[in-house]
Symmetry: C2
Subunit: 423 residues, 2 copies
C-alpha cells in the first residue's frame, strides 16, 4: 500500500473520451490497494478560451476576477473525472481549491501555495475514496479564488504530495519520461531512468517542457519523489514496469542507482533547446560604472527575465556594446522600456533578433569533470556552428546560436557526449 498523487495535463483531459482513459489509469492504480489523489488540468484549449474572454471583457483585467473566470476550467474537469471514476465503480469526489483549502499567498493570477489543509483529504483517502483536485487554483486569505500562473498544475500536484506525505507524485504527460534530448530531433535519444532534481530544474528552465520549473524546485525543497510518465499507456492495464517513467531523485539516490548498476554515471544528462528567446543588442553604451544597472533594473522591475548577457570589449574608447536575451513574448515590452530610457542609459541603437536558439547541456557530472564546456565548443565549431553567446551554471552550459542550426547542434552534441542509444 502506497499513497500516490497522480497528475494529468490538459491533453489527457481534453473531452469525456480522454477523461475515461485517465479514469481507467487511476482505477488501475487504486486497484493495487494504493491511496490515490488525482490533480487535473483544464481541458486543452479551455484556459486559452477563458483567458480570451477576460481580455475581451477588459484588456487591463483585474487579476482577482480573471482568477474567478479561468479557475472554472479545472473545476469542470475535476467534477467530470470524479463522475467518470464513479461510473467505473470507484468511490471518488472532487475537492476544490477553496474546499481543502489550498491556501495561497501573493498576487492573484500568479499566487504561490502557502499551506494545504490535508486532514480531511487524508481521512477520505484512507476510507478508500479517490480524491480529485483541480490543479492551478487555490484560495486567498480573504477567501477569493486564486490561480498559480500558467502550467501551475504540476506545482499543485507536488504541493498536494508534500502535504499528504505521498510516497510518490506521478506526473502523466504526453511523453513517457525525460529523454537525453527531444526524440523528434534525435531518433536515438534515450529515456533516462532517473535524473536529479538539480538537473531537472536546469532542464525545465532551459526549454525542456516536461515539467514546470517551479514544481521541480518545490519537489526538491519538500523532498517529494516525482515520476514523469506517459498517460498513453495501455487502457486500464497497470504498467508492466513498477516505475515505467523517469524518476526525479536526489544526488544521494542517484549515487545509489549508479552503485547498483541501475544507472550509468554520465557527464551530460540532457540536451535542451529553446527557440523562444530573442537577442537584444544596445550599441555604444557608455563604459562607466552604473551603465549596465541602468539597462537591467527597469527590465527586472517589469518582471522581464534576462538570461545571457555579454558586454563586448569597448570598440571605441569609453563605449561598449551590450548584448542579452529576453523571452520573445517580452521583446516588445523590453524594447519600449529601453526606448523610454534612451537618454538616461545613453545607447545609440537597439538591434533585436528573434532568429536565435539557446542550446543547453545539463548534467551533475560537470561538477567534478573539467572539459565538458570545451568539448561542446569544439564539437560545434567542427561543424561550423557559430556561438554568439555563452552562459553557464554549476551543472549547465548554454550557448546562443542561429535558430536555423538548432537541430544540427542538438544532434552533434548528442553524439559528442556519447548519448546516442545503441539500438
Amino acid at each position: 500500500m502506497a499513497r500516490i498523487v497522480m497528475k494529468f495535463g490538459g491533453t489527457s483531459m481534453a473531452g469525456t473520451e480522454r477523461i475515461r482513459r485517465v479514469a481507467n489509469i487511476v482505477r488501475a492504480q487504486a486497484a493495487r490497494g494504493d491511496q490515490v489523489a488525482v490533480v487535473v488540468s483544464a481541458m486543452a484549449g479551455e484556459t486559452d478560451r477563458l483567458v480570451n474572454f477576460c481580455r475581451e471583457a477588459n484588456p487591463l483585467y483585474d487579476p482577482a476576477e480573471y482568477d474567478v473566470v479561468v479557475a472554472s476550467g479545472e473545476q469542470v474537469t475535476s467534477g467530470l473525472l470524479a463522475l467518470t471514476l464513479q461510473a467505473l465503480g470507484c468511490k471518488a469526489r472532487s475537492w476544490l481549491g477553496w474546499q481543502l483549502p489550498i491556501k495561497t499567498i501573493e498576487a492573484h493570477a500568479k499566487a504561490r501555495i502557502d499551506e494545504i489543509d490535508a486532514p480531511a483529504l487524508i481521512a477520505a483517502m484512507e476510507a478508500g475514496e479517490i480524491a480529485v483536485i483541480p490543479g492551478f487554483q487555490g484560495v486567498s486569505e480573504d477567501g477569493r479564488i486564486t490561480t498559480l500562473g500558467r502550467g501551475g498544475s504540476d506545482t499543485s500536484a507536488v504541493a498536494v504530495a508534500a502535504a499528504i506525505k505521498a510516497d510518490r507524485c506521478d506526473i502523466y504527460t504526453d511523453v513517457d519520461g525525460v529523454y537525453t534530448t527531444d526524440p523528434r530531433i534525435v531518433a536515438k535519444a534515450k529515456k533516462q531512468k532517473a535524473v536529479t532534481y538539480e538537473e531537472m530544474l536546469e532542464l525545465a528552465s532551459v526549454g525542456a517542457k516536461v515539467l514546470q520549473t517551479r514544481s521541480v524546485g518545490l519537489a526538491m525543497k519538500e523532498k517529494v519523489r516525482v515520476q514523469v510518465l506517459s498517460s498513453f499507456i495501455g487502457e486500464g492495464a497497470p504498467p508492466a514496469d513498477d516505475l515505467p517513467g523517469t524518476m526525479i531523485v536526489s544526488d544521494e539516490e542517484m549515487d545509489e542507482l549508479v552503485e547498483k548498476g541501475l544507472m550509468e554515471r554520465q557527464l551530460v544528462t540532457g540536451i535542451a533547446h529553446d527557440k523562444n528567446e530573442a537577442k537584444v543588442i544596445l550599441t555604444r553604451v557608455p563604459d562607466r560604472p552604473g551603465a549596465v544597472a541602468n539597462i537591467f533594473e527597469p527590465l527586472a522591475a517589469a518582471s522581464i527575465n534576462v538570461d545571457m548577457i555579454i558586454q563586448n570589449v569597448g570598440r571605441d574608447k569609453g563605449e561598449t556594446d551590450v548584448t542579452f536575451t529576453v523571452p520573445q513574448s517580452d521583446l516588445a515590452r523590453a524594447q519600449a522600456l529601453l526606448e523610454d530610457r534612451r537618454d538616461s542609459i545613453g545607447f545609440n541603437r537597439i538591434i533585436t533578433d528573434s532568429k536565435i536558439a539557446k542550446i543547453s547541456v545539463v548534467g551533475v557530472g560537470m561538477k567534478s569533470h573539467a572539459g565538458v564546456a570545451s568539448s561542446m565548443f569544439r564539437a560545434l565549431s567542427d561543424r561550423g556552428i557559430n556561438i554568439q553567446a555563452i552562459s553557464t551554471s554549476e551543472i549547465k552550459i548554454s550557448v546562443m546560436i542561429d535558430e536555423d542550426e538548432t537541430e544540427l547542434a542538438v544532434r552533434v552534441l548528442h553524439t559528442a557526449y556519447g548519448l546516442d542509444a545503441v539500438s
Copy 2:
C-alpha cells in the same frame, strides 16, 4: 437612492459583446445613485454543454459532482461581468455562492435557498461597489457547491433581493414585460403595467416563460417587488420610463393602481398556452376505492407532475377510463412505471397522445365574477374547438385541446375577453 437587484438571463450573457450591453445597462442604473447587485445566468447554451459532459461521463451522475461542473457556467459570467464593469469605470466584484454564502438545503441539483448572509454584500454595495452574483448556485451545509435546478437564476435574484431588502428586483429578459398573451400569436397582445403575484404564479405554471414559477412564489412570500423588463433597450441609456416593464404586485397594490386609474380592472389578465404536455389514457381501470391512488402514487414518487385528471363515467359496470396529462419529457418514464404496475393497477391499455395543448386563462377578477369559465367554453365551441379536459383553480381555467388549434384558441379567447389592444 434605491437598492436594486438586476437579473440577466443566458441570452443577455451570451458572449463578451452582449455582456458589454448588460454592463452598460447596469452602469446606467448605478449612475442614478442606486446601490446595485446583479445576478447572472451562464452564457446561453453553456449549461447544456456542461450537462452533456456530465451525461457522457456518467449517465447516472452523482448530483454533487454534477453541481461542481454545471455551476462553473455562472462563475464565468459573473467574473466577466465584473471585469466589463471595471472596464467601464465602475467598482465591481463577483461574489460566488460559497463566498456570500448562499446557504441551501435539500438535494444537490435541485437545492432550495435557505439563507443568504448579506452583511458583507450590503457593506460593499453601500461603499459604492456593484456586486455581481452568479445565479443558480449555492453551498450546502457541508461546504459543497449546490445548484437550484434549471432556471434557478430568477429564484437566486429574488432571494438576494429579499436578503438585502432591495427596493426592487428587475428581471431582464428577451421580452419587455408580461403580455396579455404571446405577441407572436396575437399581434394585438398588450403589455401589462402590472399583474399580481398570484396571477404571475399561475401564468408561470401554465407555460408563460417569462419567470420561473418558484421565483414568483418566493417573491410573493418575501414581498419582493419584481419588475419584468427587456434587456434590449437602448445601449447605455437609462429607460425613459421609470418603470418600463411589468410590475408584479400584491392584490392591495393592484387595487391602488386601479383606483388611481393606472390600471383597468380586468377579468382576465393573461392567456397562456403550453404544448409541452402529453395525454395518457388508461382504459378499463377497476372502479373501486384505491384504484386511482395506485395510478398516481408511483408517478408522484418519481416526481412526475400530473396535471389534468378526468375519470370518465364507467363504460362497463365496475370499470372506468382514467385520463391525465404529464410533461412530454416525463412521458416515457411515466409509461414505463405504469406498465410495471399493470397487474396491481389492473388497466387494459395505455393510450398516449403528445399532440395536445393546454390553454389557460388567468385573472384575479375571476374570484368575484362568475361566468368567466362559461364564456370560455362558449367562445371555443363557437369556433368548433373541442375541449378534451378541464382543470381550474381560484384564478385560472385550463382546457386541453388538439395541438393544431392552439393559435386559433388563443386568438379567439383574447378577443372574447376584450384584451385586444386598440391600436
